[in-house]
Symmetry: C2
Subunit: 128 residues, 2 copies
Amino acid sequence: MNNILCIYSRFWLRHLVFMGAGAMGEIKHLVVVKFKEGVVVEEIIKGMEKLVTEVDLVKSFEWGQDTEGHEMLTQGFTHSFAMTFDKKEDYAAFQSHPSHVEYSATFSAAIEKIVVLCFPCVRVKPTG
Amino acid sequence: MNNILCIYSRFWLRHLVFMGAGAMGEIKHLVVVKFKEGVVVEEIIKGMEKLVTEVDLVKSFEWGQDTEGHEMLTQGFTHSFAMTFDKKEDYAAFQSHPSHVEYSATFSAAIEKIVVLCFPCVRVKPTG
């Protein structure tokens, strides 16, 4: 049992090192939005969670709803969605993926305003 | 030597499990900006990297410069900066930290427009 744990632990350590090495080329797709009035935001988010779960090209996905609410700072934007891709080619393939194209129509219809940035992610901290 | 590697691996495995458990309560501080013309952006970013490296309250820090450049999507914004905190209290303490207060004056003077969101981070993927 102890040996199995040891082998399992080593697998994770190697996996960690691999993740650290790969992090340098990651592409982040950041979307900041304000939804239209009357939109059932939970449904839109549920659809996005389904999309990123089903499409393997998306390496990680995080989202959040602003809780501070300083209008001067948020400029009326309320939600942030961030997807990470291993490389630019994965991001490009995701853009033209049928599931993404289909979902985009629903998403676009729900938003009042949007900012989209796409960039190679520079991770300063943690350094490991 | 093999035993040391094994113990070291187990330490990392435990650390990983701990990180996974803590991730649920994380607070993300997201800043999207367009800098004023003439600003030496590299200096501003260098200052931010120094700040987050020195202040332990900041758990992680990532930034990036948009490479797609679709004005209709970026709305003129060019850079994204994202800091993660373990809990809301850490974020509050960071806001009033002397180093942050000092840096904020420099940063504010350099930006033409800004969107700031602060939210509990929902991590959908990876799930582990």
